[in-house]
Amino acid sequence: MRKKIETKRITMDAVLTATALVIFIIELQFPEIIPIPGIKLGLANVITLVAMFRLGPADTLAILLGRILLGGMFSGRIISVLYSLAGGLLCYGVTLLLRKTVSESQIWVCGVLGAIAHNVGQILTAVALTRTPELFGYFPILVVSGILTGAFTGGIAAFTVKKTKKLWE
């Protein structure tokens, strides 16, 4: 019996990593309409949120790291991995802390605060790499974009978690 559960879990992790990776790569093809570094939808975070609320922290971390590392390799943007890691891990931390505080219909809140945390991580990395503290000037606009994009992706995650209830039993 235990073995069956393990198999299902590994399969779920693999499927979600693959899904997140595809979403991530597709989003990279979107044109950069807003000329401000760091503004993007962050659709792959939908998978992180779904995994956090359905599979738990350990699986989510594996899926997140798998997606970031493979995403860097598949897109050829190795330099971006550092930014993704800083943003992704901070976002993961915030989502982990909030997991028990929010109800399932409030998952979008995790999306918002996670997106803000993600952008903070990216600014810190950018400031450290370019040694340009002036980049903090982009912080307020990245909070605004984090709230909007986070509510959007978080809403999708809440919907997905609700609609796929049977899948996880």
Partner: protein, 127 residues
Amino acid sequence: MIKTKTWIMIFAAMLLIFGAVSFWSFTRPSKGTVANIYVNGECVRSVDLSLVTESFEFTVETSAGTNVIQVEPGRIRVKEADCPDQVCVHAGWIADSANPVVCLPHRLVIRLEKNGKSADGPDAVSK
């Protein structure tokens, strides 16, 4: 458990506050007219935009790639770059903005400041 209504109020307040601050951040003027171009935090070239009379271009090579920078009287931009996201190119011209133009993949930053920071000083006159 915090109510959904409370969360919405918190985020709406944050949107207003940070929206106002970003507006201020994007419209505040730069401290000077010297464009300093930094790679990895080191100034590689300075151009005093107020002294530019004819437009010119130059290429900055970084270990990650190249950026073609175009200067016109009073303004500067990244014209071309071989970075994947092209954010620096889409940022367009800056003339008096305190917010820098950045190319994160190449760790290149263009900042408008009061004084030239490169070893040779501003070179708008010579080029």
